[in-house]
Structure formats: C-alpha cells, structure tokens
C-alpha cells in the first residue's frame, strides 16, 4: 500500500524488520527482494507519488519541480561547477532516467577485485544478480523502427569515422519512442522501479510512505535501530507529522549525495574517514550539432546507440533529446539571441553527450541549515579527455553532415567544419572553461574489504555499524564508465540476499 501525504493525519510510528530509505534503483530492489523473502519491510520516499497518468509532458517546470530534487538544478561546486540532476519521487532517478541497461564492465570489476578486496565481484559470480535485475526491468534492445533520426545520425557519423557503435539495451516494454523519459514516461513503457520493482513489492503486501523526509538514522551501541523523520507538505514544504520506524535493519538508498549527507547528519562516522569523500561525477560535455535536414529529435526512442570505440580510454558518446528549456540552457552563453537560434535551428539540432570515466574526486559536505553541498574539481587528465571527447563527438557529427556544432567551451562557442577541430586544442582551454553536467553521481560510501580504505563492506553493510546497509551508487569504489542503473540493481539484489540469509544475526 502506498501511503501518500494526504493520507497522513497524525504522527506515524512503525515497527518492521527492515526499513529502506529511498525508492530508486537500489532501495526498491532491496525492498522487493526482502519482502518476497518474507520480511516486513517499510519503504520510505522523500518525494511524491506520480504515475504515468500524472506526468505533464507539456510542462517541463511541473516535471522538474515534482520529479527532481531541487527542480533538477543542483550544482556541484568547483572548477568547473557542474550541474547535476537526480530524481526525488517514488521510483527515484529511475523515473526520470533514459533507462539504459549495461552491466558493470569487466575492466571495472577487475579493478574492484584487485584494488578493493572485492573478491566476489567477477562477471561469473555477479551474473545471476544481473540476470535477475535484467529480467525484472526487461532490459532489451530497442525496436529498430522506433529509433529516431538523431540516433541514426550518430550511428552514421560513427560508421563513416570508423568508430564502434553499439545499440543500447533499455529497461522498457514495447517502447515506441515518445522520448519523454526524462519527464516521466507518458506511455508506461519504461520499466522504472515504479513500473517494475515497486508493483511487485506492493503485490506482496509491501508498505510505502511518500513525502517523508528522514532526518536521521538512529543507532544504539553500534547498531542501526531505525530512522526518525517527518512528512513534508509538498506545497508549502513545511514540516508536518513526525515519522518513526524501529527496525532490525536499515538500508539507506538515497543516492551518492544524499546518502552520505544523511549518515553524516546522523552522527555516523566511518573508521576510514572516507564517508562523503571519493565523489565521482561521471560528467558529460554537451555538443549541439546543427544539420541542414530537419531532425525532430523528440520523435523516437531516447539514446538508440552509444559510441564505444573509446571506452577503454573512458569515453562514451551518445545523443539525447532536450526540450527547448534545456536546449536554451545548453547553448553557449556567449551567443547572442538564443531565441532566434532556437527558432531557426531547434528542429535541426542533435544534442550529443560525451561521458568521461573520471579520475577526479570530490566530496559531499553538510553545511549550515543542513544544506548538502557537493564539491568537485576536474583534474587536468579528465579535462584533457573531456576536450578530446568533445572533439571526437564533433568529428562524428560533421561526418554525418552537420553544418556547425555548438561547443561547451567558454571562448569557443562554435565551429563550422571538421577542419576547425584542431582549433579546440590551440585555444589553451582550462577546466573552468568547460560546461559539464551529470546524472551519474557515485562513490561517496565506497565498498571494500578493508575497513581502513572503505566505508561499507562487500555485502553493503557499514563498517562498524551493525544492521546499517547502503544500496545505491555511492557504494561504487570507482567510476564505472557506463550508465549505473543495472549495477546498482545487481549490487542491491546481492545485498538483499545477504540480509535475508543472515537476518538471524540482526534479531
């Protein structure tokens, strides 16, 4: 049953076996698996409950303010400052992501095994967890006819340049390409946790509380014993009735920014002092290519292909559609008259994104008034790769027939031909000159076998706090270089299995 804000008339106090905070890729997975194993689970979500029929695809502000944290406009402070977006609604970021499904690359798993004593993280041992998650969210290829023109142009350009391209796997059932994934799928095709894990959890008698902000994880003598929080009025944002859960196990799945912040606010400290550190952003740089032919990027499936040629270098490239409000934001601010540019070129635009598997590390801090502040500076190695990735992406677009490309660099807003690409490298750009954004934050409660070098153990349990688990992207010790949804789900499935098997020790 879903308890929404309007159903709550007084303070709530509950006892349960497991309390899960956050309903995204990690939280919903743990909740569903443990409920299915017969445990009494309470799933808590800070955002509201909005289903397919509620999404307003013609109102981007409604979507950003109802489905995203901070209206999708949170900044990571640093050089450069990076915009990031994460979901805050039932289903978490899976409600507003593109639904890409890629397993953790082998090279990453090997690093985790060697460097972090995560000996069980081989592709073979993780296979059953990945398979289980893939089955539930229906990770599958896109119907070829539903692929839109912008994806076809990316593929065409990559093939002409001789670069390897792969068709994306997405969590969708009969997706016909409404291309509103980031505003909430209006057809119900995308298998966010709201369409997959949460219904299964509810069908098994699971309980969900929405509009409920957890203030702190309660611990007693080195054990997690529950959470305290309050309901938030979705309109006025006022603090309403209190909320209290007492449970044997607490699973925190609030994402890589909010999870460490919640634990820090709760006074929980990591022996390694790494809680909140190791912030990885997997940033992406946008290139807006303009073609002579009309593209109508909103007609067709989001992200049909990815260019994987440079994956070993940590570069992944794809295209994505952005409505006018986001496209206007992505235009270089030095260009005059964005209205005229969009009037003339919006239907001819392809928005490309180059993702960088970053080696830079930032941290999450809790500031005055409980403000959660992420900090991150891009190092020169990552910056060089970001510049290279942008140049490669512009090359692909020019090969596909683009007549110009808008670049994410201050002081170099556009280039008109493939011959101008070397100018990017002649410009003496600095990290502060690049505009980046991200939706893949990771690493702030890193997993590992050594308590001195990690925050949680290889089962997802906090080193030194019994019964406190973390199940989201904050557990990744390094950037994984691909879309993180499936890795989060697989690790969460594994954590849930461990909790179910070992539950007696938490009684």
């Amino acid at each position: 049953m879903i308890h929404q804000y309007q159903d709550i008339q007084k303070s709530v106090s509950i006892s349960a076996d497991v309390c899960v905070v956050g309903s995204g890729a990690g939280g919903a997975t743990v909740a569903k698996e443990l409920r299915e194993a017969g445990y009494q689970v309470v799933l808590i979500e800070e955002g509201g409950y909005f289903d397919t029929k509620d999404y307003r695809t013609d109102d981007t502000i409604w979507s950003t303010t109802h489905l995203y944290r901070d209206a999708g406009a949170t900044a990571i402070v640093g050089k450069p400052s990076i915009m990031y977006a994460e979901g805050r609604c039932l289903g978490g970021s899976t409600t507003v992501n593109g639904g890409m499904c890629w397993r953790t690359p082998e090279k990453i798993m090997k690093r985790w095994q060697w460097e972090k004593r995560m000996t069980d993280f081989s592709p073979q041992k993780m296979d059953r967890y990945f398979s289980r998650a893939e089955g539930i969210i229906n990770a599958s290829p896109i119907i070829p006819e539903a692929i839109n023109r912008d994806s076809q142009l990316l593929k065409l350009g990559a093939e002409k340049a001789g670069y390897e391209v792969r068709a994306n796997l997405r969590s969708a059932k009969t997706c016909v390409g409404a291309n509103m994934c980031v505003m909430g799928c209006p057809t119900g095709a995308k298998q966010s946790t709201l369409q997959s894990y949460i219904p299964l959890y509810l069908n098994n008698g699971g309980e969900v509380y929405t509009n409920c902000r957890v203030q702190r994880v309660v611990t007693k003598r080195g054990r997690a014993i529950g959470v305290d929080g309050y309901f938030v009025d979705p309109i006025t944002k006022k603090r309403m009735h209190k909320f209290k859960v007492r449970s044997k196990v607490v699973v925190v799945s609030c994402g890589a920014v909010q999870t460490p912040a919640l634990l820090m606010k709760s006074g929980i400290k990591s022996e390694s002092k790494l809680l909140g550190k190791n912030l990885i952003t997997h940033p992406n740089a946008k290139v807006l290519a303009v073609f002579d032919e009309p593209v109508y990027a909103w007609k067709g499936v989001n992200q049909g292909f990815q260019i994987t040629e440079f994956f070993e270098e940590g570069i992944l490239m794809a295209v994505n559609f952005a409505p006018p409000s986001i496209a206007a934001l992505a235009l270089p601010h030095e260009l005059p008259n964005p209205m005229q540019i969009l009037k003339d070129e919006f239907h001819h635009m392809v928005m490309g994104a180059a993702l960088i598997e970053d080696t830079s590390r930032g941290q999450v801090r809790v500031g005055p008034m409980g403000t959660v502040l992420p900090f991150y500076n891009l190092n020169s190695w990552d910056f060089e790769r970001a510049v290279r990735a942008v140049s490669l992406l512009t090359e692909v677009f020019f090969k596909a027939g683009a007549r110009k490309c808008y670049l994410p660099f201050t002081g170099m807003p556009e280039i008109q031909s493939i011959d101008e690409i070397p100018k990017i490298f002649e410009k003496n750009l600095k990290p502060k000159d690049i505009e980046l954004m991200t939706v893949h934050i990771m690493g702030t409660a890193q997993m590992g076998g050594d308590p001195k070098r990690s925050v949680i153990n290889t089962h997802g349990e906090f080193h030194g706090v019994k019964g406190l688990f973390v199940a989201d992207a904050s557990v990744f010790p390094t950037s994984i270089g691909v879309n993180p949804q499936l890795t989060i789900m697989a690790l969460a499935t594994r954590t849930a299995e461990y909790i179910a098997n070992q539950f007696r020790q938490y009684l």
């Binding site: 406009a73 390409g177 309109i235 006018p324």
Partner: protein, 166 residues
C-alpha cells in the same frame, strides 16, 4: 483545523517583489524576445515558473541565489561605463553589455552567479507553451500518437504494427 489543513492553507514561497523586477528585466535582456511573439501573461507566467523552481531549492541555496541577484542589480559601479544606475534602470543595450561583463569577468564568483541566474531564467522562460508554439515545438500530438500506438501494440500482439507507423 488539522495540522495538514493549516499547512495547505499556508503560503507558498514567493519571490520578493524587488527580485521579481530584476528577473523580468534580465529575461528581456537575455532572451531578445521578438515582437511577433505574444506571450499570454508573460511576466506573471515567467515569475510563476521561477517561483516553482526556487521553492524547491534548499533554503540556503535559494537565499544565496537571491542575494546574488540583488548583488548583480546593485553592483553596476564595479564596471566602467554604467555609472551608479541599478541594472533594472539601465537601457536594454547597456543591460546586455553589463551581463556580458559578468559573463566574462575574471572573478569566477561573478561568472558563477550570472550562469546560475541565467539557468533559472532560460529554464523558466523557454518552458512557456507560447514560446514552444513560436518554435513550432508541439510534442503533445506526437505523444498522443505514441500512447495510442503502444496501446494497439499491447492489445493486438498477433497483428503487428507496421514499421511505417512507428
């Protein structure tokens, strides 16, 4: 009256009036709105959207942004050529020049502030339906078609829909 009723009858966040005036002036200077574009309730709708977004921000972040907007409005004297006039009282060409100075300032804080403000304004302004119509962007018809198509696909798996329909 229950606590919930009291809360719902309470006030939503509202942008202070003096800040609203600066945001409207900034939107004109940043967007270059063509004369042919007639937006219904332009300023009210624009501010409503800004309000909705600001209401979602963390209080300290919102406070900092508002402070940044006021600072931007008052600090024309930091740059040569604008006298002691506030931003809102400058002519449109001067407003554009002033914004440009902030964008290209050597003080990174100035750049951060104006980029943040620009982000808010662009997002709020370009989300208006009349602007979408002007740009000939109308996703609703496309989405309605796709919703119906998916429904048909789900209902009749035995008679597959042709590729042309997609």
């Amino acid at each position: 009256m229950t606590k919930r009723e009291r809360s719902q009858s309470g006030k939503r966040y509202r942008i202070p009036r003096r800040v609203a005036r600066i945001l409207i002036a900034l939107s004109h200077a940043l967007v270059d709105e063509p004369d042919v574009l007639q937006i219904k309730n332009r300023n009210a709708e624009f501010l409503r959207r800004c309000n909705m977004m600001l209401a979602e921000f963390q209080p300290l972040v919102r406070f900092s942004l508002i402070l940044g907007i006021l600072f931007f409005d008052r600090c024309t004297f930091l740059f040569f050529g604008f006298g002691l006039h506030r931003f809102v009282n400058l002519s449109l060409p001067d407003q554009k020049k002033y914004i440009d100075r902030w964008m290209h300032s050597r003080v990174s804080l100035f750049c951060e502030i104006i980029v943040g403000i620009r982000g808010l304004i662009m997002t709020a302004y370009f989300a208006h339906r009349d602007v979408w119509s002007y740009l000939s962007y109308d996703p609703n018809k496309h989405i309605e078609e796709r919703v119906a198509l998916r429904q048909r696909l789900l209902e009749s798996v035995s008679s597959p829909v042709s590729g042309e329909e997609l």
